[in-house]
C-alpha cells in the first residue's frame, strides 16, 4: 500500500503551494512524468490530504462546481416536494420529444397577470379573485359568451368540534363556477343537517374533497374554509 501511495503523495505536495489561489487558472504543464495531468484537473481533492484540513481547497471546489457552500445544511422548511408550474417540456408527464409539447402554453405564462395565493399551493392562483376583478372571464355557456350564471349568495356556517375555527361555505363562489346539479344531490343533499361532512371524508375524496385537493384549492389551505374565529367558553376576551 505504501509503495502505491507514496509517489502519489509526492506529486500532490508539488502542487500544494499554488493550489489555493492559482487553481483558478490552468496549471502550466510540469516537466515531470505524464501522470501529473489528472492531478492538476482536481486541485480540490488532490491537495486536501497533503495540506491537512485546509478549508480553501474545499471552498474552491464548491465555487467551481456552482453548488452553494452550505448545501449540506439545506433544510426543507416548507416541505416542498416538487418544482411546481413547470413548462410542459419539463413537467414530467409530457413527452419532450413530442412536437406538440413545445407548442403548449407553460402555466406560469398564463398566470402572469392573475392574482396568486401566498401559499402557492395547487395552481397558486386565486381563481375567484381573478374572476371578480375581471382579469379572466370564463364562459358560462359553451356558445354564448354573454350568458351569466345564476349566482346564489348564501353562506352556510358549520361548527366543527374543539377549537377549530368555524367553517364558512359560500354558495356565491361556487355558483360562479358550477351548476347546482354538479353538487346536488349526488355529493351534497340539499337539506340542512342532512350531510355528514368530516375532514376524513374530504381526504378520501368525498364531499368537498371531490374537487378540493384535485382541481380546486387543496385541503392544506385550512383557513380559506375555516375562516370564522370561534369564541371558546372561558376565553371570550382572548383575541384569535
Amino acid at each position: 500500500m505504501s509503495r502505491f501511495f507514496f509517489p502519489h503523495l509526492v506529486l500532490v505536495s508539488v502542487l500544494v503551494a499554488p493550489a489555493s489561489n492559482a487553481a483558478t487558472e490552468p496549471q502550466p504543464a510540469k516537466k515531470g512524468p505524464s501522470t501529473e495531468v489528472p492531478v492538476v484537473i482536481q486541485p480540490g481533492t488532490a491537495t486536501k490530504p497533503a495540506e491537512g484540513f485546509q478549508a480553501p481547497s474545499l471552498t474552491y471546489q464548491t465555487q467551481q462546481s456552482g453548488t452553494p457552500l452550505n448545501a449540506s445544511n439545506s433544510f426543507n422548511r416548507l416541505l416542498k416536494t416538487a418544482r411546481r408550474h413547470q413548462a410542459p417540456t419539463d413537467d414530467g408527464i409530457h413527452d419532450p420529444d413530442n412536437d406538440g409539447t413545445k407548442i403548449l402554453q407553460p402555466p406560469l405564462e398564463a398566470y402572469a397577470n392573475l392574482p396568486r395565493t401566498a401559499s402557492d399551493l395547487g395552481n397558486g392562483v386565486d381563481w375567484v379573485k381573478a374572476m371578480d376583478e375581471h382579469i379572466i372571464s370564463p364562459r358560462w355557456d359553451i356558445d354564448d359568451p354573454e350568458m351569466q350564471p345564476l349566482v346564489m349568495d348564501m353562506n352556510i356556517i358549520r361548527f366543527p368540534r374543539g377549537s377549530i375555527p368555524n367553517e364558512l361555505f359560500p354558495h356565491r363562489q361556487h355558483t360562479l363556477w358550477l351548476d347546482c346539479s354538479n353538487c346536488h344531490p349526488a355529493i351534497f343533499i340539499p337539506q340542512k343537517g342532512a350531510n355528514q361532512i368530516s375532514m376524513a371524508a374530504n381526504l378520501l375524496g368525498q364531499k368537498c374533497g371531490t374537487c378540493h385537493g384535485k382541481v380546486s384549492f387543496p385541503l392544506s389551505e385550512c383557513k380559506r374554509c375555516h375562516s370564522q374565529p370561534k369564541v371558546l367558553p372561558g376565553r371570550e376576551g382572548v383575541k384569535p
Partner: protein, 134 residues
C-alpha cells in the same frame, strides 16, 4: 498507516458530496401542474401517446359547469370513455375542439403529448383520494 489517510478523506468527501447532492435533488423533482389529467384507457393501446388534459388552461376560458354539465364529463378521472370517433362526431372534447370554438382534432399531438406508460388519473400533487384515483 498515515498513507491510508487520503483514502479515508476521499471516501468521507465523496459521501458528503453524495448526501449533499441527494438533499439538493430530492425536493427538485418536476411535478405536473395541479389538476392535470392523464387519459390513457385507450390511447396507448391504439398506438398514440397518452392524452394530457390541463384543467388550469380550460378554466381560464370556461367555467366548470360547461364541461361537467353541458358537455357531460363525469367529475372523475378515468370515468369518461372517450373515443376519437365521438370527438370527430362533435361529442365530448369535440363539442369545442371542432375548428370553430377551438382547434380541431387533426392536431393530434397537442393532446396526445404524454410520456408513454403513464396511467390514467389526476396528477399535479393532488392531496385527496377517491374519485380520480384509480
Amino acid at each position: 498507516m498515515t498513507y491510508l489517510y487520503p483514502q479515508i478523506i476521499f471516501s468521507k468527501l465523496f459521501g458528503a458530496c453524495l448526501l449533499a447532492s441527494l438533499m439538493l435533488l430530492a425536493p427538485l423533482t418536476a411535478q405536473a401542474e395541479y389538476g392535470d389529467v392523464v387519459l390513457n384507457n385507450r390511447a396507448e393501446q391504439s398506438g398514440m401517446r397518452p392524452v394530457i388534459f390541463p384543467h388550469w388552461f380550460h378554466r381560464i376560458r370556461f367555467k366548470c359547469k360547461v364541461c361537467h354539465t353541458e358537455v357531460g364529463f363525469e367529475m372523475r378521472a378515468g370515468a369518461n370513455d372517450i373515443l376519437m370517433a365521438d370527438i370527430i362526431d362533435g361529442k365530448l372534447c369535440g363539442k369545442c375542439h371542432n375548428n370553430k370554438i377551438a382547434w380541431g382534432p387533426q392536431n393530434c399531438h397537442l393532446c396526445h403529448s404524454g410520456l408513454p406508460g403513464l396511467k390514467t388519473g389526476i396528477r399535479g400533487g393532488d392531496s385527496t383520494g377517491g374519485p380520480g384515483k384509480w
